[in-house]
């Protein structure tokens, strides 16, 4: 393996006449935490959607662990080991916390439908195993006390953690987090930072995250890509990014005002 869990080669996304993303080439080293930042509408979620198979890029190629996944369907990409969370939390609103997480185990279910309906051992054993693994996961993210609550009754911060737990349950090697710290105050953001670092180590993940909270990004990302109007403005480590004049002009200026107001 090339040491790159994720590599995109000049991917672009066009909607009708609008170019949401232009010639983006990303490299995410295995085991690292990489940030994707930029003003609203810069195309960041579109990049996620291309990587996870929701959209097929209009041009360019995407490689996951050196395997070309361009244009593959989303469920297949997840089966290969890529998981994500969503900007607007998308929990399954009829299900409890545990049930939400158990869904992710379906993709790796070894038994077939017939065995499930009849109740044959291969299915029952797999289900038992899934249950244990999911409760274990909930314990690791400190949600096990609410395992039986409807997911949507949780406070916002816990809902985000649940979404991350659900993504982790698919046994991914690459985790894409879309604004995990959205709506959090500074204390919660710091907690989240520790959380992400911890799960990266514990689950041996590579993480790519979109985020607006600069303390989180600068605090935890080893490499940062800056996007504006779908075009890469800059890439580098936090120090380089913070001092890049183009980035400051397009984006960080606004962020400083935010920081001053908090």
């Amino acid at each position: 393996m090339s040491g790159l869990t994720l590599r995109t080669d000049k991917i672009s996304m066009e909607f009708g006449g609008l170019r949401a993303v232009s010639d983006l080439s990303l490299e995410v080293e295995t085991g690292s935490i990489v940030g994707l930042i930029g003003p609203n509408g810069a195309g960041k979620t579109t990049v996620f959607n291309m990587i996870t198979g929701v959209y097929a890029p209009t041009s360019g190629r995407i490689y996951f662990e050196d395997r070309d996944i361009t244009g593959m369907k989303a469920d297949r990409i997840t089966a290969l080991g890529v998981a994500r969370t969503f900007q607007n939390i998308r929990l399954f609103n009829s299900m409890t916390v545990l049930e939400n997480v158990m869904i992710s185990k379906h993709v790796r279910m070894p038994a077939n439908l017939f065995e499930a309906v009849v109740g044959l051992p291969r299915y029952s054993r797999a289900r038992e195993r899934n249950y244990r693994e999911c409760m274990d996961l909930l314990h690791k993210v400190q949600l096990d006390d609410v395992w039986d609550e409807p997911g949507t009754t949780l406070p916002y911060g816990k809902q985000r953690r649940l979404e991350i737990a659900r993504a982790l349950a698919t046994e991914p090697r690459l985790l894409l987090l879309d604004e995990p710290a959205a709506g959090m105050n500074p204390a919660e953001s710091l907690e989240l930072m520790d959380f992400v670092a911890r799960i990266r180590d514990e689950f041996k993940l590579t993480v790519l995250m979109i985020e607006h909270h600069m303390e989180v990004v600068m605090g935890i990302c080893e490499k940062i890509y800056v996007l504006d109007y779908g075009v890469t403005l800059a890439k580098g480590n936090p120090a380089e990014i913070q001092n890049d004049p183009a980035v400051i002009e397009a984006y960080l200026g606004a962020v400083e005002i935010d920081a001053a107001n908090q």
């Binding site: 969503f86 929990l91 009829s94 049930e99």
Partner: protein, 354 residues
């Protein structure tokens, strides 16, 4: 196995035995007419359960149910009618030779009906399931109509608009309710299995479901096909109950009645559906009164035919506008409520694992 699980299994067996007892009593003490109504309710229950699987649990608004029923009914009828009947009934155009001499017993015919309907389910589903909500509704409606029109026009197979009569009759309550209970058990196990949860995930949030690795198309097709299978079974049973089928039985009106039952009982509750099937079927009979002329105090009040459907339409509207979750919402009757009362421990309990 923990205590609660054991208790649940015992209670479920008790209920099954009690149902058998009820059926036995009904068989021996109710009139033939009343048994027919109950059997009709069983058929509606199977239909509504299969529609609920597709609509309530997987979130697909399919209006094609009557088409699959039609396939099932005709399949079972053609397979079980005696060659003599076929000669008699197909008087405009004789039935094609391949089918002329077939005469099967009813249970293989029911299975065959279900399987052929399931095949049609796959054929319809492959194109139709790529469409979203409203388009899916119209497309499946269209397919059901196409099926019906084809049936009306392929006279040498189906006898066209003349329909089929002399289908072997069966009014045995065990047959109909046996099938209904079997359907309920199968669907309950399906819904509580990993696949059932996958269906629900698709209903709740398709995009998130796909992101968690669930193939939308494959799972929608599975749900749709199983729904079609049971609709076919119900169609077959319909033929045996009424002993005649014709294309006009399978118009959209039929699908509407099933839709009403599903909405009333709760889209997403199997128990609600069964209860609602009984209620609606019985109501439909009782309300026949409204459509007959009655004589009060020497005044002759003419019957208002069509009034039943007016009442049902209003009922549907009231439920969907003001009480959308129907009778049971997404709740099922389960034993937890009862066992909680008796303080039987919940250790080792899990969500709703099968």
């Amino acid at each position: 196995m923990d205590k609660r699980r054991k208790s649940k299994n015992i209670l479920t067996i008790v209920v099954l035995l009690a149902s058998c007892a009820l059926l036995y009593l009904a068989d021996n003490y109710l009139s033939t007419f009343q048994i027919r109504i109950l059997n009709l309710a069983a058929i509606y229950a199977i239909l509504a359960l299969s529609m609920n699987l597709v609509l309530g649990f997987t979130g697909m608004f399919s209006l094609g149910h009557s088409g699959f029923m039609c396939v099932g009914a005709y399949t079972a009828a053609i397979l079980t009618m005696s060659p003599a009947s076929k000669e008699l009934i197909y008087y405009m155009k004789p039935i094609i030779p391949a089918l002329a001499n077939i005469e099967w017993p009813i249970f293989p015919a029911i299975i065959a009906a279900g399987l052929l309907s399931a095949l049609f389910g796959i054929l319809v589903g492959i194109p139709a399931l790529r469409l979203r909500d409203d388009y899916l509704a119209i497309a499946t409606l269209g397919f059901a109509e196409i099926i019906r029109i084809v049936v009306t026009n392929t006279v040498s197979i189906t006898n066209g608009s003349l329909g089929l009569k002399n289908i072997p009759s069966n009014n045995n309550i065990w047959v109909y309710w046996g099938c209904a209970i079997l359907t309920l058990i199968v669907l309950k196990r399906l819904i509580n299995s990993s696949w059932g949860y996958a269906f629900r995930a698709i209903r709740d949030n398709e995009i998130a479901a796909e992101a968690m690795g669930i193939s939308l198309f494959k799972h929608k097709l599975i749900s749709f096909t199983i729904g079609a299978f049971f609709a076919g079974v119900a169609g077959a049973l319909m033929g045996f109950l009424i002993t005649s089928v014709d294309p006009t039985m399978f118009r959209f009106l039929f699908t509407f009645q099933i839709l009403l039952i599903v909405v009333l009982g709760g889209m997403g509750s199997l128990t609600g559906t069964v209860i609602s099937s009984l209620v609606i079927t019985i109501m439909m009979e009782v309300l026949r009164v409204v459509e007959q002329p009655i004589s009060i105090l020497g005044l002759n009040i003419p019957g208002l035919s069509g009034m039943r459907m007016v009442i049902f339409s209003i009922l549907l509207l009231l439920v969907i506008l003001y009480y959308r979750q129907g009778l049971m919402g997404t709740r099922e009757f389960n034993w937890d409520w009862l066992l909680d009362r008796f303080k039987i421990s919940r250790s080792g309990e899990r969500g709703e694992a099968a």
